[in-house]
């Protein structure tokens, strides 16, 4: 299976660059934690990879295919999925309809619902009526249903109680073990590093740490100074 390669990406927003010259590779079966303070540019980086915003410089590749200029739809067709920050549900669609959008077959819908019994019970409810945690489950389930090769997850935990988040994290791990390459942006740094193999810390748009997640977890002072951009 192919890897997703990001090389020398710079993203410009409003006044100037919010991501400068960032590069890394997402490998099949591995989780990469992307952490950093608020406003560091994590969301902007994900958006440049999935095509929500254009990259000012640099390239994104899937295998040998350069996708930097591809449309969002074309990138999705190559197996890239992006779970946006906030609750990206379609409020007027039911749980089943949300899943049908990405699952190609009925058995796949049932397979995914089996992973989320809470959702299975409310399969015909409009998503707008679900709790925040359940809505985030819908978003995750919908992304899984598509069987993406590369999954970018932006602050799944936002607005959720830590206990709900720790219920969702194993799903991410499970999905990686099935062969997906995952980029996980999280505020709960320790939880995210705990399930990841690789880690990237960004601060003010620059990479300040890049390496093993376990090493970073074991060295709080390194994490601290990376956050501060040192």
């Amino acid at each position: 299976m192919n890897a997703l390669q990001v090389q020398g990406i710079t993203v410009t927003r409003g006044a100037g660059p919010v991501i400068r010259d960032v590069g890394f590779t997402l490998e099949p079966g591995r989780i990469t934690a992307l952490v950093g303070p608020n406003g560091a540019g994590k969301t902007s980086l994900l958006e440049a990879i999935s095509g929500v915003v254009p990259a000012a410089r640099g390239s994104v590749r899937i295998g040998s295919t350069e996708i930097t200029k591809h449309s969002r739809v074309a990138r999705a067709k190559l197996g890239l999925a992006h779970i946006e920050q906030g609750r990206a549900v379609f409020p007027g669609l039911t749980v089943l309809e949300n899943l049908k959008l990405t699952a190609r077959t009925w058995p796949r819908v049932e397979e995914v619902l089996a992973l989320f019994p809470e959702l299975d019970k409310r399969r015909n409810s409009p998503t707008a009526l679900l709790s925040g945690g359940e809505q985030q489950m819908v978003v995750l389930a919908r992304a899984f249903a598509a069987r993406p090769k590369f999954l970018l997850i932006d602050e799944m935990s936002l607005g959720l109680a830590p206990v709900v988040f720790t219920r969702l994290l194993p799903m991410v791990t499970r999905f990686a073990s099935e062969g997906a390459a995952i980029l996980l942006v999280e505020q709960f740094t320790h939880l995210a590093l705990g399930v990841s193999q690789d880690a990237i810390v960004v601060s003010s748009g620059r990479v300040t740490y890049q390496g093993s997640a376990q090493d970073l977890l074991a060295a709080p002072e390194t994490l601290h100074s990376a956050y501060l951009g040192e």
Partner: protein
């Protein structure tokens, strides 16, 4: 009164179909299409020209006109989804006002400012109620408006195409990130509503005031009808169109009131807007 109301039903069916088109456009592609009926008018005028000056049989000219109406609408949709993809609904709608004016002037330039010698596609009575004759045009437009509304509802709720359209209308960026192609789907909606508008106008126009301005301004009563359904509900849009047409017909029968019928759509729009505001004030007061 009954005679007037039944006479107004053909116009009502026309309003209803146009209102369904306006509702679909506003829900699915974020635009209040002020050029909805002007596109249809233009297609019909070209059809009349083709049959009068080129000698095409009426049915063939009509088909060409309908396809042209759909194509014109699709082109406009393509332009708006290309250059105003992220613009708000106000900006996108403003463009259609420009197109409305453009199509009216263009039809004056190309076809002159006289009403066109339309050949009716449908002619003659269908049946009579209490001695009041109901025309074939009336029956066909009313049935068409109901069938189109039901068909669209089934399409939106029962097919994967409809599901994708609803997803796009709720969160366009998220839908695109999932691989749902926004632009082709939007252009399809534009094309479909363009076809439907031209179809229904070509059925009803021969029996109504059919100068370019009158036909283009059908968008006003159609908006009044769509407003009844809040530009969201297709069933209420149909009801609104039919009731408005019948009310206009009934009012036209009473000599002292007959000019009121021209203002009726405006009165309905103002009334509905005020009423919806009143509800909000009430909600806030609570």
């Amino acid at each position: 009164m009954l005679q007037g109301a039944l006479a107004g039903l053909a116009a009502g069916g026309l309003y209803a179909v146009l209102a369904v088109c306006l509702t679909l456009m506003s829900r699915l592609v974020r635009v209040v299409n002020f050029a909805q009926s002007a596109t249809g008018m233009f297609g019909c005028y070209v059809a009349v020209w083709l049959s009068v000056h080129v000698g095409l049989p009426t049915w063939a000219a009509t088909v060409v006109g309908i396809v042209l109406g759909g194509g014109l609408s699709a082109l406009l949709g393509w332009i708006i989804s290309t250059w105003l993809a992220e613009a708000d609904i106000g900006t996108r709608s403003a463009v259609t006002v420009a197109v409305l004016l453009l199509l009216i002037s263009l039809s004056f330039i190309l076809f002159g400012n006289k009403p066109q010698p339309f050949h009716p596609i449908l002619d003659g009575p269908a049946f009579s109620v209490n001695g009041v004759v109901v025309s074939q045009v009336t029956v066909v437009t009313v049935v068409l408006s109901v069938v189109i509304a039901l068909g669209c509802r089934a399409l939106l709720t029962k097919t994967s195409f409809g599901l994708e359209l609803r997803a796009l209308s709720e969160r366009p960026t998220t839908a695109e990130l999932m691989g749902i192609p926004a632009k082709p789907l939007a252009v399809a909606v534009w094309a479909a509503t363009g076809l439907l508008s031209t179809l229904v106008i070509s059925i009803v126009a021969p029996s109504q005031s059919n100068d370019a301005t009158s036909l283009s301004m059908l968008v006003v009563p159609a908006s009044a009808a769509a407003l009844l359904g809040g530009f969201r509900r297709l069933d209420l849009a149909v009801v609104g169109g039919l009731v408005l047409g019948m009310a206009q017909g009934a009012v036209a029968q009473v000599d002292s009131l007959s000019v009121v019928r021209y203002f009726l759509p405006f009165l309905v729009i103002v009334g509905l807007l005020l009423w919806s505001q009143r509800k909000e004030v009430w909600d806030v007061a609570r």
